[in-house]
Amino acid sequence: MTRDPDHPAGRASRRGFLIGGAASALALDAGTVEAQQATSVAPQRPDAVVPPGCPPQPGQVPTRGPQGYRFLTNPEVETLTAMADRLIPADDLGPGAVEAGVVTFIDRELGGQFGAAARWYMAGPWAEGAPSQGWQLALTPAQIYRIGFLALDRWCLGVNGKRFVDLGPADQDAVLTLLEQGKIDLDGVSSAAFFQLVWQNVVEGYLADPVYDGNRGMAGWRLLNFPGTNPALTEAVALNGEVYRIDPVSIGA
């Protein structure tokens, strides 16, 4: 759904608005990855800008939605973009996490209530506890990202002489596997907990409603044929194993 009050339906003007949006984001924060991509790709390939309501294709730049970052620093954006690109890559099945706007999604989440652990019980004393007692870290998600990304780059530089973002895809995958297995010390934060948090948030950004700036063009939902926020699905109940085709709708597309 177009939410541009000046150009409610016009496709051409919508596109103009989108490109304008990308340009102004560049002016605001020239260092962000999305903004750099926007300048290098969008002017040369006008079709690379995603038309409203369509999923971005591999290589296309998601330009709708607010640009720029609220919480993440530039190096964090670089690392997270590289990670998200390996965790859910763009491929022949369609856009990956980066194309779907997951980096922006995570930035917004970390800068908001989730990042602040606003609804978690965060009073001490703190003890590690048994696995059955669950999460017992004294850190908020925002703190875990901040500490984790810094420590990860330090670890990668020490072992490979390069930051995570500068490693090749195979080496990045190897590092991700070590993180997942809890085998890297991230300044006292369990790398398995760090990995699970990032992975959880990447999946959320890929599959949550586009109103949160991820899942752009409902790319994640189209991969699944998920109908989104269509509330009247009675006729799909009667089907016998065939797919129910319906164009997805969302709160925030």
């Binding site: 609804r119 019980y121 009073a123 007692q133 991969l223 699905l233 089907l239 194993g241």
Partner: protein, 587 residues
């Protein structure tokens, strides 16, 4: 000193299912009633309107209408030797907060317990002998019978417009319903829900194996409309698939909003105060009578609400904590097995089986909270336990509640956990399976209980409830038995993959299992072994009544709400017909 509010006749603590039922049922008494709810005011419109109610991240993943743990949580340990630690993030259960309580985000699975469930000890001893029951199991009879509860079950089903098919109508067994259920006095108010592909196929296979599958009783409206005995209307369920963990947009899932609250709120003698968190029931110095309750309002002010009668309707562990923190009744001590408040904390013993079909779409997004086909052959004492070495059982349910992408995308074992391979597996296997849930009961064990935590406190300085719990061996044997039966049926469906998912042992607070946590203020006929009477009246402070699943001596193999609502109706009726004539005395 908290500011004193004007005196009222009745104060209700918590305005979820039981609090709203109590307010409705007391509406014709002329009593002045105040309902205190710690969470915010809300209603179907605007709070659960589409499309915003269909937001998986906000409601289900971030849990915006579940209890806000930053103010209050529980601590948890598996056994006495462990130090309990706070549940810092929601996991195993999802208590509600706000007007309507968990009655807003429940599924609507609307079960009655079996007649024998109410005689858990005497029935099993009579059939299998005393020796068949592990001496550590502290199971008890309820002190009420199914027949005594039947009129109240019936009442709540008609209030909720429950859909289903009677299997036992006044003793006559009827085709297509649950042949094991207790006798019903009349049919369900509404016909069964539609069933989607997965549950239909499951039922057909099970029928071929000699089982008697039937549609799960559902408080999701199966008709175009329904008007309950109070004249309150419900709309048709459109199988939106955002049901449990969400508010219903269409007045289709029974909740306090489209059943009892509208009547309660019309009563000029009823005053609802939201954002009002009760911290204590205030007692007279001899601890034999309650004077009222202290609560903290939205502005953080402490207030005292004097009342002649206090109804605790705050949900299971909140009831127990308020009793312990206020000194109502003797706390239970697992070492001596003496004391009653906190005793017999039980849960539900769950396991899941997922058959996958590579070339079939389940269209699971077209689901409803209580849609599903059930087998009751292995519930309660519906089968001979002689050779098996355990008591109790559970239903086996093929269900489709939704296919929400973040949390309901089940992949076969061995799928890559991330990367291109994960994406491929998600693409290939999303919506290719459905859930077969084994929903087992939970036997009470001497060492499973609730007390006050010695270390951790809530935002108001009150000690948190401490839960000590692990699955009894009896229940783990029962779980394995139910899983074996589920797998047998699933295999007969010839799936391309089969996945079995068992919640961890020892019990873990991390993965969601169910919010059917029960016990702690259990009912009975003996004040030495129960905290409340069969009318839910505190033995020790008779002007306090304690409603909710806290009253269950142990849990049966069904969802609890129909039973706890029936107990509430029965209690309020006794308050009206007996207690009010002799206030302050045991009924």
């Amino acid at each position: 000193m908290p500011r004193h509010m004007p005196h009222v006749d009745v104060v209700i603590v918590g305005m979820g299912w039981t609090g709203a039922i109590a307010a409705r049922e007391l509406a014709d008494t002329g009593l002045r009633i105040v309902g205190l709810e710690r969470g915010p005011y809300r209603d179907t419109i605007p709070n659960f309107a589409v499309p915003n109610t269909m937001d998986e991240l906000r409601w289900s993943v971030r849990g915006e209408m579940f209890q806000n743990l930053s103010r209050e949580t529980v601590t948890f340990r598996n056994h006495l030797k462990q130090t309990a630690l706070p549940m810092r993030r929601l996991g195993a259960f999802l208590p509600g907060e706000g007007l309507g309580g968990a009655g807003v985000h429940w599924n609507g699975q609307h079960w009655r317990f079996l007649p024998t469930d109410f005689q858990m000890r005497s029935h099993n001893e009579a059939r299998y002998g005393k020796k068949a029951i592990d001496p550590e199991l502290t199971i008890q009879d309820w002190g009420v019978t199914y027949d005594e509860l039947e009129p109240y079950y019936d009442k709540f089903e008609y209030v909720c417009g429950t859909s289903g098919q009677a299997g036992n109508l006044k003793g006559a067994i009827r085709e297509g319903g649950n042949p094991f259920e207790g006798p019903r006095s009349r049919e369900y108010p509404c016909p069964p829900l539609k069933q989607s592909y997965g549950p239909r196929q499951f039922a057909e296979t099970a029928r071929g194996m000699g089982y008697k599958p039937f549609p799960q009783p559902a408080s999701n409206m199966s008709q175009d409309s329904y008007t309950n005995p109070d004249g309150v209307q419900m709309g048709p369920c459109t199988y939106c698939g955002f049901c449990e963990r969400f508010g219903c947009y269409n007045w289709s899932k029974a909740s306090p909003f489209n059943t009892v609250l509208p009547i309660a709120l019309k009563n000029p003698n009823f005053e609802l105060r939201c954002d009002s968190h009760v911290t204590r029931v205030e007692l007279t110095p001899d601890r034999k009578s309650a004077r009222g309750v202290t609560y903290v309002d939205a502005a953080g002010q402490a207030l005292f609400q004097p009342a002649d009668l206090v109804l605790l309707c705050a949900f299971q562990f909140h009831n127990v904590r308020l009793m312990l923190a206020s000194g109502i009744g003797p706390g239970y001590d697992p070492r001596t097995a003496k004391g009653t408040v906190g005793k017999n904390f039980t849960y539900q013993t769950i396991a899941y089986t997922y058959p996958f079909f590579a070339n079939k779409r389940m269209n699971g997004y077209a689901g409803a909270g209580a849609m599903g086909m059930t087998l009751d052959e292995f519930n309660g004492d519906n089968f001979d336990h002689g050779p098996h070495g355990f008591i109790g059982g559970g239903y086996i349910l093929a269900q489709t509640t939704g296919a929400r992408p973040i949390q309901q995308s089940t992949l076969p074992d061995g799928s890559p956990s991330w990367g291109s391979g994960w994406k491929r597996a998600l693409h290939d296997w999303y919506d290719r399976s459905f859930t077969i849930q084994a929903h087992g009961g939970s036997t009470a064990h001497r060492a499973n209980y609730i007390d006050l935590d010695p270390t951790y406190r809530d935002a108001f300085g009150v000690p948190l409830a401490r839960i000590t719990f692990d699955f009894p061996q009896n229940d783990l044997k029962m779980r394995q038995f139910l899983v074996d039966k589920s797998v047998e049926i699933a295999k007969a469906m010839r799936p391309d993959h089969l996945k079995v998912s068992l919640p961890p042992v020892p019990f873990s607070i991390v993965p969601y299992q169910t919010t059917h946590i029960v016990g702690g203020a259990i009912m009975g006929v003996d004040r030495n072994t129960s905290a409340v009477t069969t009318h839910l009246q505190s033995w020790d402070v008779p002007n306090v009544f304690v409603h909710g699943a806290s009253a269950f001596p142990q849990n049966a193999g069904y969802n609890p709400t129909n039973t706890l609502a029936a107990l509430s109706y029965r209690s309020i009726e006794a308050i009206k017909s007996k207690y009010l004539q002799n206030p302050g005395t045991l009924i």
